[in-house]
Symmetry: C2
Subunit: 373 residues, 2 copies
């Protein structure tokens, strides 16, 4: 699937690429992946990184090479893209609802080991009917609400739903999912630890209740990049879903993710500089996700944010830059941006350059972008 071998960009320096150009620094990516895989290994749990942020099967394969047991996806179409890219063990950490989407899910189960979350009896019956008709098996995680208030049943409701999975043909119970999405963005470390422990307790309680009715729980899956270094140590998870942190960004910095290196960058070009102390770059909020905050300029020599050039705003296709006294920029000059949030940035692009020491090693299609169904 990769076009790397023949892609004209391979072997070029990033300064030669047309802009805006999204790229991942492979050394940093590998260091981050190694750190997340290591945290799982140290705690005796599996790493099943979510690929919602990166959306590129070629990047996902690097995570498998780093020790991941499979990947986590948000949607069926995202999982299809991963299967097309050669990934064979996929968790869809979400409810899959409606005849059309269940038909796609079942078709996909014919070519990958597939697991899906569920929180509704009728949904389970529809999944069972479709799987049985197609002669495939679907693994199921009963989705438990561990405090986020989104999808999922209460711990007390989990045993009945788990029993329903066992009773229905075409379905296998893999265990429980308890994703603590509400904990990810907490900036105070003590509060983050306390809320992580609460969620872990709820998941552990759901497991206890299910096992109390004689149903074994092989897998308990959860955790995000915003709390993985805590969640992986609490004993409630057998499988960690955190994955976005392999790219790193300003948001994860604010969330306190420790020790990760910035791996995702956006190379831009100045296209206009009509006023002293200002310049306009060629990437706006159509190239760098805007709703959490603004990108920042990166000084690659010092490997840190550049305080002499500030991003003061984004138009749809323009970067508004304020320059410190003495700094000038001219059309054609290049800058590196660190996106505010990788999750909302990568999906705006179609390819991601895989770069080492400033040279393009590979070009990865972001095939999962726009896969919303």
């Amino acid at each position: 699937m990769t076009t790397a071998a023949t892609h004209e960009a391979v072997g070029r320096r990033i300064e030669e690429l047309d802009t805006p150009a999204l790229f991942v620094d492979l050394d940093a990516l590998e260091a981050n992946a190694s750190m997340m895989a290591g945290a799982c290994r140290a705690n005796g749990i599996d790493w099943r990184p979510h690929v919602k942020a990166s959306k590129a099967p070629e990047l996902a394969k690097r995570l498998l090479a780093a020790g991941a047991v499979g990947v986590t996806c948000a949607k069926v179409s995202e999982a299809e893209v991963m299967a097309d890219g050669g990934i064979t063990d996929i968790l869809i950490a979400n409810e899959v609802v409606g005849a059309t989407k269940i038909a796609r899910l079942v078709a996909l189960a014919g070519r990958a080991r597939l697991c899906v979350a569920a929180d509704d009896t009728r949904n389970l019956e529809e999944l069972s009917a479709a799987a049985t008709a197609a002669g495939v098996n679907l693994d199921v995680l009963v989705d438990v609400d561990v405090g986020m208030g989104r999808c999922g049943v209460t711990p007390e409701e989990a045993p009945a739903l788990a029993q329903r999975v066992l009773d229905l043909p075409g379905l296998s119970l893999r265990g429980l999912m308890g994703y603590e999405g509400h904990v990810q963005g907490i900036r105070d470390l003590e509060e983050k630890e306390a809320r992580s422990e609460e969620s872990a307790s709820m998941l552990a309680e759901a497991k206890r209740l299910v096992e109390a009715v004689g149903i074994p729980v092989e897998c308990t899956s959860g955790g995000g990049t915003g709390n993985y270094w805590i969640a992986s140590t609490l004993g409630a998870l057998t499988e960690l879903q955190a994955g976005g942190g392999v790219l790193m960004d300003q948001t994860y910095g604010l969330y306190g993710v420790p020790g990760h290196r910035q791996a995702l960058f956006l190379e831009i070009q100045v296209i206009s500089a009509p006023r002293l102390g200002q310049a306009i770059g060629d990437a706006g909020w159509k190239a760098s996700g805007r709703h959490t905050g603004l990108p920042a300029v990166w000084d690659s020599d010092l490997a840190q944010l550049d305080s002499s050039i500030e991003v003061t705003g984004l138009s749809a296709e323009h970067t508004h830059l304020r320059l410190a006294e003495g700094v000038t920029l001219e059309p054609g000059q290049r800058l590196l941006l660190v996106p505010h949030y990788s999750d909302s940035t990568v999906l705006l692009h179609r390819t991601m350059y895989a770069v080492r020491n400033g040279v393009v090693e590979d070009v990865w299609p972001i095939s999962g972008a726009g896969m919303l169904q």
Copy 2:
């Protein structure tokens, strides 16, 4: 280019489509296009709608059929997509900088009438050299800053730049561009009118100064959906760039755009409803642009927003819905959303269903999404 004739969705009702499904109501689209074309006709100016919001060549062709003289694009790659789709008269209302991008621009000029904005002498020289080497002609609009403070020269600087265009081989001076981006979001109508008049005066002044040195100005181009009904009447423009308003959205409603019908919708499905008074839909901020605000639920029977179901938040892939007392929703039920901003929503999708009376007439690839270079 269209896959409509053979697309399996053609002839289906929107309720049969997998979700989330982005669609445009053709009756509303045509009414809006007719209104914008009519405003231009009534004022004796050309309509060159910006396709940055819709990004679909097939939709752009509907605007040409409604009376547009060509289209406006933001980027070279977006213009390439429009040319691939059969559009032959394209303004890139932006500076095109750097050897790689200028090479793409010049290649495109071999297969479409192309006009580009410029605000820098060295950029003009690079455009000229590339055009001359390729044996093509580039039309140029001198970009004038009419108060936005982004790209563009002052009115006083316009004559020298216009003269430079005339002097350089391979370039033809088409006129001036003065886009009043800062006026679009003004909600107070009196202030919007006052600021529109200021911008129009600056553009008219630039034209007067250029003509005063003996250079004819054939075209003055500007205006956006947020002020087009004012800008088109002020006498400063010969060409209106406003185009996003053919889709309409909540943002343009807040901006006071008069008389347009909602044409862009997102069909979603409930995937979970574990708590009384709440439900979770299958579209988050990866399906409905988030940075300006939240989508709203549409009541298609009453053709107005539905006050009984409120979107209280968006996760990446989930809609958080609060239900009024007595309202219940179950997994599998469908809702229509009105995106907060069309510009930040369409680019998240890959196809747009063209729908009339609830039935799919055509399926339009959103080929311009992700075209950022």
